[in-house]
Symmetry: C2
């Protein structure tokens, strides 16, 4: 019996046990193949079937329209932060609109500045990114090269509940930390990308869903590995892809389809898990203090602080003793962050919620003698 | 008992069974951590120890001098083909010397053309890349931005036995397919890089060994993920690295150090394995026809053809029946290629050699009735 704990890390994050167990069982040799997934040729029939199934699963789960390509790339979201402006901003004479809703969209904007002009359509820094903009607050340029947004900000714990209306301008979305957590109308996006290590697989593979007209507009003067058109034409096999990462995406999406039953069901479970923690915060009589405003709250990353930072180490220590780890918040927000991606079991959230209630009784005013 | 076969693929390629078995054993949870290597935070103490040990192992195996950084990156050799000229050719007013010894150095040269002027210091195309140049054949520009070479050409099966003399110009080497197969004088190189999936680990991690003065010369206007200086300053943790790939590099280099006993010993075994196949070719009375000239032969990729292509399918089919797979040569060379990287067991090479002798007896003139 392996001793596994509840890992609330913002990413890399927990994976479904069923996927881990299948990977473990077959690690020395894929059944009927005699070669490990860690050794198999990316040009083999066996891997062709695996990457084909991973893509088919994603297409089913997200109802991806036929005029979108699904790419399995390397370099994480950070390389996408560069490839997007290298491809669609540089040399266009246009500027790109960035909706800055937290650390990661800010970082993406900085990367874009190396390639061309950027315009801030909105920036939530005055509230330390504790809320998202209303549509009416967005200053959008109708002639922008694209509008950039992050659907969920991992550090601040804010999540868009729907896409901004950007007219005919391509919408580019970093969905790294809420990918596959709920249904998404892909046809509203020009590009939607996500590193895998939150909801889709291990670190080292990045999924890019990109509309055909943007694929075709990739500039020819880019190096091959930065050229969406070449990557798409070669079905992610322009060079050796992250084979094991793609395999894990297949196993995780198998689980989503067969065990969970699709993204509507996954979203319902995720809402239930988040609700449990937000209620513990809201009903704590002010002991737990939220970071994100209720209307902007993330279903993936729950951020909160204690009434005094002197209690922080105690909170982390007592949580760890219960097998609840990686709860420390990012220094820019402080306090705590519980990342409760798809694979975090309900049991983990219940254990955390119960601990939070107990901790507030013990150290809160209500519990003082 | 898992049924594993002898996989002569040029890459991804076989891994040491000991490394696969350790990865399998701990796949659900690292001992004492309770979290899988596929889920662990790249900022955790446990992963810090793993990446630190992977680097320490590489430093020991290759005697890497202190003024070199060791980076674990994504994107394969193909992204290095771009990052090198983006960093050290673009905007320098110089040109870069490329020694074109096969498919991969040719491809690297093409990628560099997107970034600046390239000069061909030598090109082996007239002999279909069946030999390597003498020092006297190299047309080197003493003012070149760098000299680029591939130490081993996977497709043609030619391998440099020593570095070209390039004076004070930085030498850049793609060592993807012979990395860790033998000792290398790192101080002769400005940059030596290798994708892992031949000798060092699974696909999805690329090791870059780069001298400090080049690190410091990385242009500031590059996107972060393409900037060697930022990657080095952040010790490969600028963003989430390919955690599992780094872990496997640690396990493979553990094996090289502890089981094999270092690169001198590995090189001796590799010479013995290659010798066995080359002797079978040379002593076949012309039945097996070499591609690479003897002085340029690779210890990693053994390329040969049969007297008539009509026999090719028979050769592959009979080999497969013995559990010898992925022997088909690249279309640009034809015939066969046996890739015998570090982890190919002696038993696999003996089985192939014996099969080759038997096949030539059966179908060669000597064996005709």
């Amino acid at each position: 019996m392996v001793n596994r704990i509840f890992n609330f890390s913002p990413g890399p994050a927990m994976l479904p046990l069923a996927a881990l167990e299948e990977a473990q069982r077959d690690l020395l040799a894929l059944p009927g193949v005699g070669i490990s997934i860690l050794e198999i040729s990316h040009r083999s029939k066996a891997f062709e079937a695996i990457i084909g199934q991973a893509e088919a699963n994603l297409r089913t789960l997200l109802a991806i329209p036929d005029n979108y390509r699904v790419l399995f790339l390397q370099g994480g979201a950070l390389l996408q932060f560069a490839m997007v402006p290298m491809s669609f901003l540089r040399n266009t004479g246009k500027s790109a609109d960035y909706i800055v809703s937290g650390t990661w969209s800010k970082k993406a904007q900085e990367e874009a500045k190396t390639q061309g002009k950027v315009h801030t359509a909105w920036d939530g820094k005055s509230g330390n990114y504790n809320r998202l903009p209303q549509q009416s607050e967005l200053e959008l340029d109708p002639d922008a090269a694209y509008v950039y947004t992050a659907s969920n900000e991992t550090i601040q714990g804010v999540q868009f509940s729907r896409e901004p209306d950007v007219g005919g301008v391509p919408l580019v979305c970093d969905s790294s930390s809420d990918f596959l957590s709920r249904p998404v109308p892909i046809d509203r996006y020009g590009i939607l990308f996500a590193c895998a290590q939150k909801n889709a697989g291990p670190a080292g593979v990045t999924i890019v869903i990109i509309r055909d007209d943007l694929v075709q507009r990739s500039p020819a003067d880019l190096p091959s590995m930065l050229n969406y058109r070449l990557l798409a034409e070669n079905k992610s096999l322009l060079n050796t892809p992250p084979v094991f990462g793609v395999y894990m995406v297949k196993l995780v999406t198998d689980w989503l389809l067969k065990e969970v039953g699709g993204l509507e069901k996954m979203a319902a479970i995720n809402r239930q898990k988040a609700q449990m923690l937000y209620e513990a915060i809201d009903h704590s009589g002010g002991f737990y203090q939220r970071h994100a405003e209720p209307a902007s709250r993330s279903m993936m990353n729950v951020t909160f602080r204690l009434p005094e930072t002197a209690l922080d180490e105690k909170f982390l220590g007592e949580a760890k003793a219960l097998g609840l780890v990686e709860l420390k918040g990012h220094r820019s927000v402080g306090g705590f962050r519980a990342s409760i991606y798809n694979a975090m079991p309900m049991e983990g959230v219940v254990t955390l919620r119960d601990f939070m209630l107990e901790f507030s009784r013990k150290y809160g005013r209500a519990g003082s003698p």
